[in-house]
Amino acid sequence: MVLLQLDPFLNELTSMFERSTGTGSVWVTLKRSSLKSKVVRNKMVTAGEAIEYKCLIRATNGKKTISTSVCISYILNLSFWFISVLLEPSCRVMQVSSTVECKLRLSCEE
């Protein structure tokens, strides 16, 4: 698994979504992580040190896996990315609600 910086990760994830438009799935996993082993974390706890947690993001298309870790200051960038790369194209593909479809059908029949 490749650990990338945020911008290369987003570029790679965007191309992963583009390559899977015809076939296949993309999985994106979010998990809270300190990126430190349990031993190190326990030592920090006993020493009274504060552990810094980040949001670990992993993405895979079943063949290749990429990952990055995000701190709070980059969360807004990530949120905008999800809107532009995932939500807007997916909304064009996904179904419109049945109530809207009925209204469209009724207006066509008239």
Binding site: S20, S25, V28, T29, R32, K54, V70, V93, V96
Partner: protein, 103 residues
């Protein structure tokens, strides 16, 4: 694995699951563009909550859940989520008060 039909119930139970065990809980999104299907899963390796949809409106709701989880994971389980949800409340346009017809 349990598929939850209500979006609000899925969000509430997911946040509770995360707050109960923030180190084990993960949030997974699976998207198939060829089918137009989105599946969301929140699990702590003991309990699993899933939500699936092919509706565009519910995909848009996912944006709110993403922001909630980004904030919870980066700032911690004790963070006040009204900062995340409160912004959306201000985005809602106030209902127009038209002239009411006196009957």
């Amino acid at each position: 694995m349990v598929y939850i039909t209500s979006w609000d119930e899925f969000v509430e139970r997911s946040v509770q699951l995360f707050r109960a065990d923030p180190d084990s809980t993960r949030y997974v999104m699976k998207y198939r563009h060829c089918d137009g299907k989105l599946v969301l899963k929140v699990t702590d390796n003991r309990e699993c909550l899933k939500f699936k949809t092919d509706q565009a409106q519910e995909a848009k709701k996912m944006e709110k859940l993403n922001n909630i989880f980004f904030t919870l994971m980066a700032r911690g389980p004790e963070v006040d989520l009204s900062e995340v949800t409160g912004k959306e409340q201000t985005d809602v346009q106030p209902t127009k008060r038209g002239r009411g017809r006196k009957q």
